[in-house]
């Protein structure tokens, strides 16, 4: 019992070792195993630097001793244990803390800029270094969500979505279109992969699809003789009406996203996630949960949906499954509602979640019992998280602070 036969393997060519079984003490833990691998690597090539490794037994990270793990997984100690090792994820490094004047309701970032929406009725553009670049003020009410690139989208509690055009060189913002049509606060917007359309979900239970292409023509308005129309147009942009309306939810739509160019996914307070055909407007599939959905995120890498609900769990769903409501995995560690969840754009197993318990958690689906890291910097409710392609994790909350973390997950094994 004291010794087990183990064979180590990795997909990272840099750290390849001989494919032979080793006899290792059963009581050894991650650090012991890591030392073993490092020893082997040192023996193989002289210029090896010490690297911390993490180990996976049957697709799950090893967190306890090897023996207890094998016991729980019912692995016979007689056989040779296959152990995969990967470079250990280093903890996310906090980078910036950007102060806002009010609660941060939403955040979105690309490689250069960070766009945040706040309860002080403004959207702000920040540089990566945390410098305020631009303040977009136009909504009469709390600002919520943002689109991206030189065209910005802002949705608000005042039931409108504004389409802005931002000239980054001149640093000027112009309101191009004001999208009217919702009868409730607009809680979520999502731009489709082709960047020609966007979809919005609202408290009025509707999903609406709008054109994201700025034009000079105004859509037909229901009130033709509007006083001060010119002035209004200059301030608010041209009024735009929705291309399509999806109705089907029984409660407020809390989150919407594009799965691909033709497929929409929306989560609602009526405990369902629905998949829609963006072309025909028909409902394709529905996943029924037991709690109100606050947020969803989709990873094209693993083709999974992650949802944050008003209980403590982050749940993973397979949107393709016909029988619908089958939870693949529950990630339980939060103590409050999960308000935000976001898949890593580059890693198929990793996601980040924010909760009302002031904590942002970084998860690896291979280690579903406990999160990889807790990012407990916020002093109040976390309202939004984002994860950029270049490995930046952002989180904003009710403490008016936007935190950014540099997280260098090894890109090498992401493609696997």
């Amino acid at each position: 019992m004291s010794q087990v036969q183990a064979r180590f393997f990795t997909e990272n060519k840099k750290y390849l070792i001989d494919d032979v079984p080793f006899s290792i003490p059963a009581a050894s833990e991650v650090t012991d195993l890591s030392a073993v691998i490092n020893k082997l690597l040192e023996a193989k090539n002289d210029g090896h630097k010490h690297v911390e490794f993490d180990f996976l037994v049957q697709g799950q990270f090893l967190r306890t001793s090897l023996a207890s793990r094998m016991e729980t997984e019912n692995i016979s100690t007689e056989d040779v244990v296959e152990i995969e090792y990967v470079e250990k994820f280093t903890a996310p490094q906090p980078e910036e803390c950007i102060m806002h004047d009010d609660w941060i309701s939403s955040v979105e970032a690309d490689s250069e800029w960070i766009l945040t929406g706040s309860y002080d009725k403004t959207a702000r553009i920040w540089s990566m270094e945390g410098k305020a670049v631009m303040t977009v003020a136009g909504h009469t009410d709390v600002n919520l969500y943002n689109g991206l690139s030189s065209l910005l989208l802002s949705a608000s509690l005042d039931q409108t979505i504004m389409l802005w055009e931002w000239n980054s060189e001149r640093n000027k913002v112009k309101a191009r279109h004001c999208c009217r049509g919702h009868a409730g606060s607009v809680d979520t917007v999502a731009v489709d992969p082709t960047r020609t359309k966007f979809c919005s979900g609202s408290w009025d239970k509707m999903l609406k699809i709008w054109s994201a292409v700025p034009t000079e023509e105004e859509d037909e308005i229901e009130e033709p003789n509007r006083p001060r129309k010119k002035q209004k147009t200059e301030q608010m942009g041209l009024t735009r009406t929705p291309l399509m309306t999806f109705s089907g939810h029984n409660e407020a739509v809390s989150s919407v996203l594009w799965m691909d160019a033709e497929e929409l996914c929306s989560a609602s307070w009526d405990h369902t996630i629905r998949l829609w055909d963006a072309e025909t407007g028909g409902q394709k599939n529905a996943i029924t949960g037991s709690k109100v959905f606050n947020c969803i995120s989709y990873s094209p890498l693993c083709r999974r949906l992650a949802s944050g609900t008003t209980d403590r769990h982050v749940r993973l769903w397979d949107p393709r499954s016909k029988d619908g409501s089958l939870v693949l995995l529950s990630l339980t560690s939060h103590n409050g509602w999960v308000t935000a969840v976001r898949w890593s754009p580059s890693h198929e197993h990793q996601l980040v979640s924010g909760s009302l318990d002031n904590v942002v958690k970084l998860w690896d689906t291979r280690s579903c019992k406990a999160p990889l890291y807790d990012l407990a910097a916020h002093e109040d409710k976390v309202m939004c998280v984002d994860w950029t392609e270049n490995g930046l994790i952002l989180s904003g909350g009710a403490d008016n602070k936007l935190y950014t973390y540099r997280y260098s997950a090894c890109v090498s094994d992401a493609g696997a």
Partner: protein, 779 residues
């Protein structure tokens, strides 16, 4: 017979009769004088006399026995007749005598003829008619008549009344002791006592010498000495011996039984049998007919044959028949005595003798726990063994053992306490219900008295003692708006109509309708238009409440209408359609406790003319036009259309604090300050269907969920208790009430915990506001 009369008495009687004779003879003369009527009467008598003339001879015999009036009457007549005749007969033998004699005789006789007094009086009455004033004559005649009737009686009488000399009557003779005379004779002259100067010596001599002394008695009446004759002495002896006085009387004569069972040829009475004994009885026929009918109809049944088997008490009836020897199985043998062992021996082996330490330990031990009840001792010989000192004690204990030994094995009933609890579904199966605290809405600086949620479930309004009303976003706990009002807010209520965006806020004596400007733009503007489009009616009504439109700063803040009440308003509640608003102004002395406002017409009405107690809270029925008014002890249900009291619910508690109506409308829950929550089923009874006492302190608020079968109660102990309250559609099934969760979160401030609870309109979430200035959301 007459000739046998002898002596003075017979003479006297004769004299009387003679006198009577004379009177009778004179009667006709009187009659002639008196008139014809009297004569007729007399004639009747005479006739009667004539008819019965022959029998009159024996009249004397019959008279003594018969007492009845009629017969007497007749007999009297007969007597008259007989007397007349007899007197006629005796007329010849008339002897001369004095009237004085006759009178005195009559007087003497009178007391002896008691039985005949009535006769005499009747005679007198008769005579009254005939004789008028001549009573004396009649009485004389009467007396004569009496005497004549008694003639036979005295035939053999030896009474010495005949020679009565003394007329003093039957008085104690001592009265004459001191007088020389002893009475009066018939002529009224004194009868002197015989001169007797006998002293004791004379008496003695007389006794010694007179051979008749023993038969000499003194006549008290005359004072004379009388020597009794032989016959008299004999009579005295006989009487002393208890014998009959008459020697010839045979008291043992054989009796003749006239009325015997033997049928005689010549019966005593010869009455022929009645006719009715020959013909069948109609009454019997009728009775038999009734019985036959009753038997035919089955009303009468033949008597059940008596059970001949004797009744005994079965001592072992209750015993299980299957266990043949059940009684014996249950037998508990008497405890046996322990057999003596070596330690009881007078010379026990040394290992049984206790060492010093063991002995000390034995002595210190409690007698009950001692292994041995005595100390083993060693004696040199059996002779040296002393008397056992504990003998009596041990025998007594042995008797106690026998006596107190149980006679029967006790069958202990093992009841699992779990089984006694009614089967309720597990809370886990009753999900969803709120379980954990999710959000805390912080911002108020003082206790939050009231909360209300918008019909869409997106906003929450709370009113606090810090004179502010705050509007919150439910999902984020973000305070979107703070409106200041002029006093501590007692109640807030969001208009339940989704097409109107109004919130009623009560503070002090004012109710303000606020437009928070949240939610759909169109709805908010429509609400404002609705309020501004109001037109003042032609005639201005005199209302107890002043309506005013808010202007200026207030309007900026969202105030739209201000209603000034005469008294402090404690609660506001909307009707389901959102036009009517009921306000409670608790006041024990006034009838104006509840007012109902119609917002669209800005009208106020006081629905109740009478004060029926301190109103605690009111509520509109969700569907029907009913109005619930909770006073301290009762909940009254009024029909608003018929304007009458429909029901009065007895809450069985001391002081109702809050009330909530089930969205179905048939169930009501009431919270009370004495820690109870009463669930009423309006279809079932006016008494609580169930009373829950889960809270430790006074309940402040209760609420129903609009869709889920949930209700919640908030209490001063800082907890919210959520219960599953399923109401079934079929009337047969009673509501199922299961407490599912105790939600804690509020800190107790100034002895106050949770002040208000309300449910989210669509989700199974409950909000509670507390004295700690927070509102909490439990999901």
């Amino acid at each position: 017979m007459r000739p046998t009369h002898s002596g003075t008495m017979s003479k006297l009687k004769n004299k009387k009769r003679n006198l009577e004779e004379n009177e009778d003879e004179q009667l006709p003369i009187f009659d002639k004088d008196g008139g014809k009527d009297a004569h007729l009467d007399d004639g009747d008598e005479d006739q009667g006399d004539l008819s019965d003339g022959e029998e009159s001879v024996f009249s004397g015999l019959e008279e003594s026995g018969s007492e009845s009036d009629d017969e007497e009457e007749e007999e009297e007549d007969e007597e008259d007749g007989s007397e007349e005749k007899s007197s006629d007969i005796e007329e010849n033998q008339t002897a001369d005598g004095d009237g004085d004699d006759q009178l005195s005789a009559k007087e003497v006789i009178k007391p002896q003829t008691d039985g005949q007094n009535s006769k005499e009086e009747k005679k007198k009455k008769k005579a009254a008619g005939k004789e008028g004033g001549e009573e004396s004559v009649a009485s004389v005649r009467d007396s004569g008549l009496q005497i004549s009737s008694q003639v036979d009686e005295y035939e053999h009488d030896t009474s010495d009344e005949e020679d009565i000399r003394n007329t003093v009557g039957n008085i104690p003779m001592e009265w004459y002791k001191d007088y020389p005379h002893i009475g009066y004779d018939l002529e009224g002259k004194k009868i002197f006592k015989p001169i007797r100067n006998k002293d004791e010596l004379d008496e003695f001599l007389d006794k010694m010498e007179n051979p008749d002394y023993w038969r000499t008695v003194q006549d008290k009446m005359t004072g004379a000495d009388i020597r009794l004759s032989d016959e008299q002495v004999d009579l005295v002896h006989r009487l002393q011996q208890g014998k009959f006085g008459d020697v010839n009387f045979n008291e043992y004569e054989p009796a003749i039984d006239f009325f015997s069972n033997e049928v005689m040829i010549h019966p005593v009475t010869n009455r022929p049998q009645d006719k009715r004994s020959f013909i069948p009885s109609l009454i019997e026929k009728e009775k038999v007919g009734k019985l036959v009918h009753a038997i035919k109809m089955g009303w009468i049944k033949p008597r059940r044959p008596k059970e001949t088997t004797p009744q005994y008490y079965d001592l072992w009836a209750k015993e299980d028949p299957n266990s043949i020897l059940g009684r014996h199985k249950m037998h508990v043998p008497a405890p046996k005595m322990k057999l003596p062992g070596h330690e009881e021996s007078y010379n026990p082996p040394p290992e049984y003798l206790l060492s010093e330490e063991e002995r000390l330990a034995w002595e210190q031990q409690d007698p009950e726990y001692r292994k041995l009840s005595f100390l083993p001792q060693k004696f040199a010989c059996l002779r040296a063994v002393p008397a056992y000192s504990r003998f009596i004690h041990e025998q007594f204990e042995r008797c106690l053992d026998l006596y107190l030994c149980p006679r029967q094995r006790k069958m202990r009933v093992n009841v699992n306490p779990e089984d006694l609890i009614p089967k309720l579904p597990k809370p886990k199966d009753l999900q969803p219900f709120p379980t954990t605290q999710s959000l805390v809405y912080r911002g108020h600086s003082s206790l939050v008295r009231s909360i209300s949620i918008s019909p869409s479930g997106q906003w929450l309004v709370s009113g606090s003692d810090d004179c502010t009303v705050r509007f919150w976003e439910v999902s984020t706990a973000r305070c979107l708006k703070t409106v200041e009002v002029g006093g501590a807010v007692k109640g807030v209520a969001w208009n339940p109509n989704p097409s109107i965006c109004l919130v009623a806020v009560s503070y002090d004596d004012t109710v303000v309708l606020l437009n928070p400007g949240l939610g759909d733009r169109l709805v908010c503007t429509a609400t404002d238009q609705l309020i501004s489009s109001y037109e003042e009616p032609e005639e201005v009504m005199d209302q107890s409440v002043q309506w005013a439109v808010a202007e200026g700063e207030g309007h900026e803040q969202g105030h739209r209408l201000i209603l000034k009440h005469p008294k402090a308003v404690r609660q506001v509640t909307w009707h389901g359609k959102g036009d009517y608003l009921a306000c409670v102004m608790p006041d024990n002395g006034s009838s104006l406790q509840v007012v109902i406002h119609q917002v669209s017409k800005r009208r106020t009405q006081n629905p109740f003319r009478k004060n029926k107690g301190l109103v605690q809270c009111v509520s509109f029925h969700p569907i029907r036009p009913y109005f619930f008014v909770a006073t301290q002890r009762y909940v009254r249900v009024y029909n608003l259309i018929k304007q009458e009291l429909t029901k009065k619910l007895m809450a069985n508690c001391k002081w109702i604090s809050s009330m909530a109506i089930h969205p179905g409308g048939d169930n009501v829950i009431c919270g009370s300050y004495d820690c109870r929550l009463a669930w009423f089923d309006l279809d079932l009874s006016t008494k609580p269907y169930k009373v829950l006492r889960h809270h430790k302190k006074a309940l402040r608020s209760v609420a129903y969920h609009r869709h889920y079968p949930l209700f919640a109660s908030g209490s001063d102990d800082g907890s919210v208790i959520v219960c599953h309250g399923m109401v079934y559609n079929d009337l047969l099934q009673n509501p199922l009430i299961v407490p599912v969760k105790v939600l804690k979160g509020h800190t107790i401030t100034h002895d106050l915990g949770v002040l208000d609870v309300t449910f989210h309109p669509t989700q199974p979430w409950v909000f509670s506001s507390g004295a700690d200035g927070t509102v909490r959301l439990f999901t």
